[in-house]
Symmetry: C2
């Protein structure tokens, strides 16, 4: 199996509400099919789909709540962390951790999207960020 | 907020077991810090970390089980879907959906990793796959 994540699908309870939330953050989808939203993210895709249909399609039982996966968006400075967290707050996100220095030597905050999916907005001084926003780890 | 997912962190109960599972699928990590595993995936990163610590760090309550997020790895043909699902089965994954044609005109199967995180292995004839495995949606 190639070392490549192609698509992360977030199960949502109200597709239009979630689409509007991500649009308020400046995201634009690539229209593809009814009932699903796809956002290009570098060489992969972030999708939004009915959580109920996603659970059935994934062969899993859904007890609700968080399931052990957290997303992150890395930015170039602590000030950029603050700015994105304020943007998310203005878009109606719940800020579950206000921006602050982290134990690993960076700076981050966490917001939850309308379905509670957590996004850490992070500045990691040890990670290189390309001009296009890509993260490249160097051994 | 740039339209960019930088990092997906999977909460795991046994870091060594999970690392061995992904290594059995051919993945190689970029050593970075104790207690965490990072796999480069194109211009983003897939991480493994203690689920308990990830929950606390993400400001969420963990009731266990699935939380509305499914990962996918796209391949070039139905035969490649079959091959990756067999590779995952051999690595000890549970196959939660055997490979078969899908309602959206493709072909896919789903395995669960040692912590139950579902991965759909998919061939989508409507998506372009670059030589490096990147997915590019065309409007």
């Amino acid at each position: 199996m190639e070392q490549r994540l192609s698509l992360v699908t977030l199960g949502v309870s109200d597709l239009d509400r979630s689409r509007r939330f991500y649009e308020a953050l400046g995201w634009r989808d690539t229209p593809r099919a009814e009932g699903v939203v796809f956002f290009q993210s570098g060489g992969m895709v972030v999708g939004l789909w009915s959580r109920e249909e996603l659970a059935a399609d994934s062969g899993v039982e859904d007890n609700g709540g968080w399931g052990g996966i957290t997303l992150a968006h890395n930015v170039r400075s602590p000030a950029d962390v603050d700015a994105v967290i304020e943007e998310a707050r203005a878009a109606g996100a719940t800020i579950v951790r206000e921006p602050a220095p982290t134990f690993w030597g960076g700076y981050s905050g966490v917001f939850a999207d309308p379905d509670g999916h957590p996004w850490e907005i992070a500045h990691n001084p040890g990670w290189a960020l390309g001009d296009d926003g890509s993260v490249i780890l160097r051994a």
